[in-house]
Subunit: 348 residues, 2 copies
């Protein structure tokens, strides 16, 4: 995408108000190339900005890495609040780092943090991992409650990968829009469950179960171990109901203890086996490209809906007609016929 | 909705080209009020027409019955091809007629017929039912392959109810868009399954299982009976995974034989129990109104998307940008930024 050079100059002038830092494009690109976590954070903030000059500069940074295609894996981690996602990611992240990888952790659904009332911020949820130089944890942006984060997660992933984080965890709670979002950006999806038959699954959307590639039962330790084993059996049977999208893949059901750090190798191996299968089928890169296109189509539809429905004339009619159906003074088909002609009248 | 009287006059003039029939609004309204199946068919054809004068007249007919609120039940019947939907509907329909009801059968997804290559038409699939004066079976319109039928099914239901058909079966195959459509128009949903553990469920969309209120295993007769009983057990366990939207409702799993006409009373009773529960919770009428509003919102979004994406400038850019993502000459975020400004430029 070509960006108006004037905008970039303006953006740079803005930064030069802070004279100690020469924050031009090369500042960011070189910082990211060097794996600098502070500059990575600054770049992500640009991408998330609602100021178009900043956002344009952010897109320029991503574009600078267009030819850079490192081998990476994007791992979706979904589970309802309380299942222990943070401790699991901390344990698995440390395992990956022990194997020589660098790990980034992103959250699609910021409410996963907000609901837990975390005043200390995300970093305190993963104390050891966040202190390691091989890890990058993206704290929730303050504006994220407005749903802004998810839109930019795809771009954030690319920046993290450019900065040398070759394992990217994308955390979601799996109850809202997040499972749709995560479907546009992960290579493999882990569904985290806790001991106790069937009840957890009811708290998460059906689509999540359908999209999971690996089922992990957390808290398989101490007094919970027998129940965890029962739960494993239960889910292994239940999973038979669901056909996996990749032929030849039988979704494994694994037991882990994030506290005792057991089972991490099995998860690591399962991810590798799944990635290898996708690569054998020449589906790994294709899936990412398909996701890009689906993401573009989905976001375009959302934009069309938002921008069109915000046209004052239509917005007003939409509300009035809804009320009339509610009052039963108009049939739904009558309302639709009326709104169709309004939509058609909107365009130049 | 007010309709231009001139249009109606024009429409009437069109009909008066056939001088033997005086087809004005009262012809249709009176015919429907009398329960005349031929005039009911003609009215549905008006609703489905792409000629706006005819469609307007169709809407006028529905409007004439706005105050008429008979007690009816709209029963969704979903099942993959081969499960025996036609014979089941024939058997259950005859059971309802035996109880003093009048029964209409509609199909949301016309491909359910077309895939079966039925040259003889739908009526021949339900030979006995279709010959009964208490039944009305709507054959697939020839233009229905274009997806037109589903849009108008909601209106068709209202016409059937106005004509005194107080039990309306809405048949879908549950593999395409149809489960979304059916969610806008049924009071109770029956999922029809066949003996054989789990395999059938894989052929239908997850949403169908989630939306089903009553599970019916067909072909529970002769040599299949033991397998049907096993299947019942299997589904009863699997269903535990799914919370029903109505608290206090445990989805029953019933065995029937459409050939031997066994189990029909159990299905009839289950439908009645479900309806009674909804009425106790004051949810029966509310659900219909909610469906009307959701239908209006969904169809409005679809119209917005269709009409906006068809604006020549946007249509062209959408294709070009998709190609550029596919060729990897442009990032998905770059494409989205480009299309956003095009969308914004479309409006007056």
């Amino acid at each position: 995408m070509s960006i108006n050079p004037k905008l970039i100059t303006q953006a740079n002038q803005r930064f030069q108000e802070k004279p100690l830092l020469k924050r031009d494009l090369s500042y960011y690109v070189e910082g990211i190339r060097a794996g600098n976590r502070y500059i990575l954070s600054e770049s992500i903030t640009l991408i998330e900005s609602t100021i178009s000059e900043k956002r344009s500069l952010g897109l320029e940074i991503i574009d600078a890495f267009k030819e850079h295609k490192p081998e990476t894996i994007r791992i979706g981690i979904t589970g309802t609040p309380g299942v222990g996602k943070s401790t699991f990611i901390e344990a698995l992240g440390r395992y990956y780092i022990g194997k020589g990888h660098r790990v980034a952790v992103l959250a699609v659904d910021p409410s996963s943090y907000i609901n837990k009332g975390s005043i200390l911020g995300d970093k305190n949820r993963m104390q050891i991992l966040s202190s390691m130089p091989e890890a990058y944890i993206r704290p929730t942006a303050s504006g994220a409650t407005l749903g802004g984060t998810a839109i930019h997660t795809k771009e954030t992933i690319k920046l993290c990968e450019a900065a040398g984080f070759d394992v990217v965890f994308i955390e979601t709670v799996g109850v809202g829009q997040s499972e749709i979002e995560v479907g546009f950006m992960t290579d493999v999806n882990i569904l985290l469950l806790q001991p106790g038959a069937g009840d957890e699954i009811q708290g998460i959307k059906r689509g999540i179960v359908e999209n999971a590639d690996i089922f992990v039962i957390n808290k398989a330790d101490g007094a919970m171990l027998p129940l965890a084993k029962q739960t494993k059996l239960f889910y292994r049977n239940a999973i038979q109901l669901f056909h996996h999208k990749v032929e030849g893949w039988k979704c494994p059901t694994l037991l882990v203890s994030s506290v005792d750090h057991t089972g991490m190798d099995e998860v690591f191996q399962a991810v590798n086996r799944y990635k290898a299968l996708l690569q054998d089928l020449h589906y790994f890169d294709k899936q990412r490209l398909d996701q890009d296109i689906r993401w573009f189509h989905q976001k375009t539809k959302e934009l069309i809906e938002k921008i069109t429905l915000n046209q004052p004339q239509l917005k007003k009619a939409y509300g009035t007609l809804t009320d009339e159906i509610q009052n039963q003074s108009l049939s739904a088909s009558g309302a639709l016929a009326a709104i169709e002609s309004i939509i058609k009248s909107l365009f130049r």
